[in-house]
Amino acid sequence: MSHSDELIRLSAAELARRLGRGEVSSVEATQAHLDRIAAVDGAVHAFLHVNAEGALRAAAEVDRARAAGESLGELAGVPIAIKDVLVTEGMPSTSGSKILEGWIPPYDATPVRKVREAGLVPLGKTNMDEFAMGSSTEHSAYGPTHNPWDLDRIPGGSGGGSAASVAAFEAPLALGSDTGGSIRQPAHVTGTVGVKPTYGAVSRYGSIALASSLDQIGPVTRTVLDAALLQDVIAGHDPHDSTSIAEPWPSMAEAVRRADVQGLRIGVVKELDTDGFQAGVRQRFHESLELLERNGAEIVEVEAPNFEHAIAAYYLILPAEASSNLAKFDSVRFGLRVTPQGGGTVEQVMAASREAGFGPEVKRRIILGTYALSAGYYDAYYGSAQKVRTLVQRDFDQAFAKVDVLATPTAPTTAFKLGEKLDDPLAMYLNDIATIPANLAGVPGISLPAGLAPEDGLPVGIQFLAPARQDARLYNVGGALERLLEAEWGGPLIAKAPDLSTHELTATEEGAL
């Protein structure tokens, strides 16, 4: 294994340790990841934009500061990939849409500003379903991302680019956004770790809004400790986001380092442990629970009867909020402008621009949201969906009165083939059955690898959910389970992923580059 190949396989925590001890420079680490991107991203397509020059400049600045003895953050010098939903100064930000093609924002999103201030090195922007609407990245206007475990399969969505970038060792860390599972479901299908923090834990300022009452920014990594270290960097109150929680957070990294499940009460959600989930997904889920039980956790079954209505409520609330948020794409202040032949009024220009700039899923949801909000239907649809939201919250309250955390499989199946569900929106929406309740209630959730499904050899994730503000409980149970599983496996699951260097040529030959 070459030095560069060794560097890209390190966890962020281990790379940070070596950087801190001067065993490797940030420029070396950054170059190793840029080389990896050049070698495999033609086949994976995790990135929409790679900022090699800016990354090397930022890395050199960290190396200089370290040499000068300046005080640096724990992750200083570690490269990071950024989901294209977050606006970035100096890098295009499209949210996966043609309507924002080439747009370079005049400011950084707060989480981006925080990672830069902590000395992390942004490598570029990752692919996603257009405006985060999707579960497969197939709705990206720039073509799909491919799952590094099997390039013919989806990497999950909407944050398939971020998940694939860490799974393919193109970056040790990435930022994602989770509106209904867009961090956790990609983690599940790519054998990686993804966390949706408590709503309001991380600022949404500069995150191109999908559904404002559901969106949350969070970490995408290969290890639970790395996710904790990244959450510690990006969390915290931001006056620019009025929904940001104005309370201090305990260290998530500490929660991982002290992880212990002795006496922890884990509730299994009965409604999400059914035949509707693939056999191998359920098998790995139950094996993980048994492992936790053998190590002192108490497993109990809990009921959440209203979870079955969560998807329906979600697909009313999300389009309603999205149709309002996406009204900002009016062809006036930024983004695409298309003038109809022979000119037109500002409204005709707007309609032509939105027709040309939005993809089919975005149009579908805007029309759906406009319908759900229209006079005469508002109470029946949007109003009723908001009531279901109350009922889902009550289910969580009742469950958390009995247990410390809840456990579910993260998603019903392993990665499906690209194209398989593209023409069936309702089938696609079912991917998020286990992840949506957390967004409706604002509670935090983590997905971490639970093994490979015996029937297809593809990664399976397990999800834990905790009460609002109790994100540290996720890092405790996640850190403990990861340690126990890796002891059984003899190393991390991601080590079993296929070697992508052999795919590079194939992709080139097929013209996929």
Partner: protein, 100 residues
Amino acid sequence: MPEISAEQVAHLANLARIALTEEEIAHLTTELGQIMQAVEQVNQVATPDVPPTSHPIPMQNVFRADVVTDDVLSPEQALSGAPERDGDRFVVSAILGEEQ
């Protein structure tokens, strides 16, 4: 469950300012009907005694002092992505059409 017609979808597209093609309208009319059928189950459990939730974490109004701070965009930054500009102003086409 109200049937969704092509005229309704065309009206919604107009409200949403998207110049959908006839083909898109036809396609969306079918899909919208199917999706609404799948989501209308929310009515079964949303009884009058259940209060609606608009926001997951309860919060009071958030206020700040009404002063301009130094982290606002400059006119140059604000106009940097404009499709068309005239000095410090955004340029748009006519507000009213000829028939108006």
